[in-house]
């Protein structure tokens, strides 16, 4: 009997309740890209690109735009996105956002902090989208650039970033929480990836552009955007991005190293290539007296992928020699990048401050407030050891066997 009452309560509670949070798939639009521009009248101008799913259905070949875009002005992101339905028929779902394009104007003048909070707070937003600072064109153009292979533009950007991160290292691997952590942290300055449009964005908007073999517009990665707190301070090139990543966590990359001894100019410009496969880098910060020292130890494993120089790869001495050359070369590259950051920005994007915090907590507490100045004046010491393991399925290069080559 009592159970019957209990069941009754259960059933009645079911009947009384509706389904507050249910939304049919037909009633939602999946947002994949968000672009933030400075507003004309209000603070921000938000553009969302949402997927037009029926176009992507394999069954119905239907020509049309794979994404649709809506732009609105307002003072805060949640407000604008909630208001989007003045022009969009369906409820926008932000949980699958793949790219957040931030206009460099906004980043420079306004700072990004004020809207990142709403993104972090909202459980809808995952931590898996890319924060991209748009260089040159306004951000709203980015979610519209079509691509014939990956038809949803923002998905294309994300995949592109994933691929380059894996193969070469042109993206600093910064996600929302990393970015926010860096803003809060005293020992690290936030960075983000930056993108530009190559070609004509107006043409790239058209779906017809997918018909062309050479896309009229393309989104390119353009290195790192460096922030001071939440405001944009400047850019670093793609090469620097890779070098930055080398000090952090590099998956694999490719370096081209001149054959001659460092600094020595050869008659012909000859190079050899190394595919770096395995990397380990440790960052150390310490004080000698009053002078801060930054130390990076890098250990890399490499595979030789091309050889223009005239050297016999079947000998172990050659390996040793090449290893030394490349270590020196890589070291110089990384030192140059660090110096550049020190001189141009004086912002510790590498996390040396955090390293100090871990390694010498007392000292870190002391210099916490003025860490960026300390960073700028610090001595840099980079140790690189490149270990070349193998050289592909040939040892000697056929170039060394060419008879015309007298020197051999």
């Amino acid at each position: 009997m009592k159970k019957r009452i209990f069941i009754l309560i259960c059933i009645s509670s079911f009947l009384l309740t509706g389904c507050w949070d249910s939304t049919e798939l037909n009633d939602v639009s999946i947002v994949t890209g968000i672009a933030i521009d400075p507003g004309k009248e209000k603070r921000y101008r938000l553009t969302v690109g949402y997927v037009n799913a029926s176009i992507l259905s394999p069954q119905i070949p239907f020509e049309g735009a794979p994404v649709s875009v809506m732009t609105l002005e307002g003072n805060s992101l949640p407000e604008i996105s909630a208001r989007m339905n003045i022009g969009v028929s369906r409820k926008l779902v932000f949980s699958h956002t793949r790219a957040l394009y931030i206009n460099e104007e906004v980043a420079k003048n306004d700072g990004v902090g004020s809207f990142l909070d709403s993104l972090e707070r909202n459980p809808q937003f995952r931590n898996d989208f890319n924060i991209l600072i748009t260089k040159g064109d306004s951000a709203e153009k980015f979610p519209t650039i079509n691509d014939p292979v990956e038809r949803v533009p923002s998905l294309k950007v994300q995949k592109q970033i994933k691929s380059i991160l894996k193969n070469w290292g042109g993206d600093p691997r910064v996600r929302l929480t990393d970015f926010i952590d860096a803003i809060v942290s005293q020992g690290r300055s936030p960075i983000a990836s930056s993108v530009t449009i190559e070609g004509n964005p107006e043409k790239g908007k058209n779906v017809e552009s997918n018909m062309e073999t050479k896309a009229p517009a393309r989104i390119l990665l353009a290195g790192i955007a460096v922030f001071e707190k939440d405001k944009l301070a400047g850019y670093l090139s793609l090469e620097d991005t890779r070098n930055y990543l080398w000090t952090q966590k590099l998956e694999s990359t490719m370096v081209t190293i001149p054959c001659g001894k460092h600094g020595e100019e050869l008659k012909e410009k000859l190079y050899f290539d190394l595919a770096i496969m395995n990397n380990k880098s440790t960052i150390k910060t310490f004080y000698k007296g009053d002078q801060p020292h930054l130390k990076v130890d890098i250990y890399s494993e490499a595979r030789l992928t091309s050889m223009q120089c005239n050297e016999d790869l079947s000998k172990k001495e050659t390996y040793l020699d090449l290893e030394q050359k490349s270590s020196k070369y890589v070291k110089d590259m990384i030192v140059a990048t660090i110096k550049k950051v020190q001189d141009e920005f004086g912002l510790d994007i590498f996390g040396f401050g955090e390293a100090l915090h871990r390694q010498n907590y007392q000292k870190a507490k002391e210099v916490e407030e003025k860490w960026d100045e300390e960073f700028a004046r610090a001595d840099v010491d980079v140790n690189v050891h490149v270990a070349i393991r193998r050289s592909g399925i040939r040892n000697k290069s056929f170039l060394s066997e060419v008879p015309a080559n007298k020197e051999d």
């Binding site: 009997m1 009592k2 309560i9």
Partner: protein, 75 residues
């Protein structure tokens, strides 16, 4: 008896919650009680009120049945 226990627990719980609220909000007892009992319009607090009421009815029913059983046993 169940009804009695129910009432004791209900009132006791209320007193406990309001004591804690008094501590947290630094308010007087009556203010707190008032705050607890005002049903905020538009929220679903009536749901929970209804549940508690069902609980009360239940306890009365259980008491009734207990008493009936007892009577039967004596007979």
């Amino acid at each position: 008896m169940v009804t009695f226990v129910y009432l004791v627990m209900y009132i006791g719980m209320l007193v406990l919650i309001s004591l804690i609220d008094m501590f947290i909000w630094k308010q007087s007892f009556f203010q707190v009680i008032l705050r607890l009992f005002t049903l905020d319009e538009g929220t679903n607090e009536w749901l929970i009120g209804g549940t508690v009421f069902i609980g009360f009815i239940c306890s009365i029913v259980i008491d009734y049945r207990l008493r009936k059983n007892k009577g039967q046993k004596q007979l």
